[in-house]
């Protein structure tokens, strides 16, 4: 364990000496509960500074919810607000192939987008729904990471299948399967599939789970993400930097792994 990071957490100081990229964030208000400060990019950077996070990658709540274009507009504005630190996923909603590709192409013609975000749960479809295929083919063609929300065995099985079909696309299993009984399944897919990674975003903080993920899937397959501003990000970073793993493994999780699969993040 890197004792120095624990001391930084306990003293309330931002983490120093690590490049920390938060690969899983959202943006804006949400229907189900209050998101203070409107979940703005400005407020998220304030939170990032408190912890020592240098870059955040966002997808708008609206884009993974009812309005893909509205949400992606918000994400584009967030990335433009601080281009060195805020990056965006194109939120993809099931729709016609033409509509989907037009939206994706329009966003990547602008600056600040770095990957695709799919939330099948909120869109009422399966992870492997056919309507997503044009988006994943686009990711394949342009070497983009695809972050997919998961919360069930079926989600993880679907993602396992997609990762075989699209072997060059880096897939991130958001929440590493989410529900506690899905974790082992997600870790197994992360271990078996070279192009599958899992992120650390969870609303709770299970003791020892980072160590467990590293042991089962390898540190090179775990990616730091917090789900900010869905909930507070600080406890997830603390869980990672205070984990009982090697410092080199912490470095991979908080930044190096995501850099390895996301070429559009600038140095």
């Amino acid at each position: 364990m890197a004792e120095k990071y624990r001391q930084m957490v306990l003293s309330g100081k931002a983490i120093e000496g690590l490049e920390i990229i938060d690969a899983h964030n959202h943006l804006g208000p949400y229907f189900n509960f209050p998101v203070y400060r409107q979940g703005s990019a400005e407020s998220m950077l304030e939170r990032a500074d408190t912890m020592g996070v240098s870059k955040i990658c966002v997808s708008a709540h609206a884009a993974i919810g009812p309005n893909m274009v509205w949400g992606n507009d918000e994400a584009e504005r967030a990335a433009a607000y601080c281009p060195e630190r805020v990056f965006a996923y194109v939120g993809v909603k099931p729709c016609s192939e033409r509509e989907m590709l037009d939206e994706i192409e329009k966003r990547f013609a602008a600056k600040g987008f770095i990957g695709l975000k799919l939330h099948p749960g909120l869109h009422g479809v399966q992870v492997a729904d056919n309507s997503y295929i044009p988006a994943i083919e686009y990711a394949e063609k342009h070497s983009l990471p695809v972050l997919i929300h998961t919360w069930s065995h079926a989600d993880v099985s679907d993602l396992d299948g997609l990762s075989t079909r699209f072997a060059s696309v880096p897939f991130i299993i958001a929440h590493m399967g989410g529900a506690p009984d899905v974790l082992d399944h997600a870790l197994d897919v992360m271990r078996r599939r070279e192009n599958v990674f899992g992120d650390t975003a969870l609303s709770y903080a299970p003791h020892g789970s980072i160590e467990y993920a590293v042991k089962k899937a390898g540190a090179e397959k775990v990616i730091f993400g917090t789900d900010m501003p869905f909930y507070d990000p600080v406890f997830t970073l603390a869980r990672v930097v205070c984990a009982d793993i090697r410092e080199s493994e912490i470095e991979k999780i908080v930044g190096l792994n995501f850099r390895g699969i996301c070429p559009l993040i600038p140095r």
Partner: protein, 249 residues
């Protein structure tokens, strides 16, 4: 920052996680690592097996560990499993018990938290100023917590497992009560502590780690990286719970 932890358990559980060490030794080690100088502690046997047996084991096993203060899991007296409320709370105070816990949900100890069932017990706790630590999942969520807090306005209640989605329930409840405190290990809305403190002050938040199930690093960070003034952090980290248990008589 040093902490006084209001939410700790130890001992084996029915469905253990492979990643967690549930032993007393592990708890003591973790407390040291995270500057947790004192903790209110429950024995898992009192939750998952038999409350009186677990409470008794707790008293035996934590003897000599001054950093651990006992919390008893209580049952209503009607079935004779625990003594009459007045005698029970008298014994609790005599034996140095600093807080009570109840698990009334059907999946746990299965009883009603309404006054027709536990009224005398809650009144006895209130009389002795013994705080009740209770998970909102045990009372059927925020509606159940509201009922409990509003029906028993003088009983100090520390609510655990209040999650990040709760504020639309929690804020009006905090406004209408003076006896409700929120334990922080599950309470993680975005900028949540700052917004809470702005409205209700720092007096009504109480640090808990949630060990062993919850990572203490995460629980500590909720306070130390809250963005609150140091004085407010210290109230949450230890001051508020020290004040509350200091009132036990």
């Amino acid at each position: 920052m040093t902490f006084f932890d209001a939410n700790v358990c130890y001992g084996g559980v029915k469905t253990p996680s492979q990643a967690v060490d549930y032993s007393l030794d592990a708890l003591l080690r973790r407390m040291k690592e995270y500057n947790i100088e004192k903790a209110l502690v429950v024995h898992s046997m009192a939750r998952e097996h038999d409350a009186p047996t677990g409470n008794e084991l707790l008293m035996k096993e934590i003897k000599g560990h001054d950093c651990l203060l006992p919390v008893w899991v209580l049952l209503p007296h009607h079935t004779g499993e625990m003594e009459e409320p007045g005698a029970l709370t008298e014994r609790m105070v005599k034996e140095g018990v600093k807080a009570a816990s109840m698990l009334p949900s059907l999946a746990f100890h299965s009883f009603s938290m309404r006054r027709w069932s536990v009224g005398p017990l809650l009144d006895a706790l209130c009389e002795r100023r013994i705080p009740l630590i209770i998970g909102i999942e045990q009372v059927g969520g925020m509606e159940g917590l509201a009922q409990l807090a509003l029906e028993n306005p003088s009983l100090p209640i520390i609510a655990t497992n209040v999650a990040y989605r709760a504020d639309r329930f929690l804020y009006p409840l905090m406004e209408q009560t003076k006896n409700l405190y929120v334990e922080t290990s599950s309470y993680k809305p975005y900028f949540g502590l700052q917004e809470f403190v702005k409205r209700f002050g720092a007096e009504r938040l109480v640090f808990g780690s949630g060990m062993p199930a919850v990572d203490p690093a995460a629980s500590a960070a909720v306070v130390t990286w809250s963005g609150l003034a140091l004085e407010q952090q210290e109230m949450i980290a230890h001051g508020n719970i020290e004040r509350l248990i200091g009132e036990v008589r």
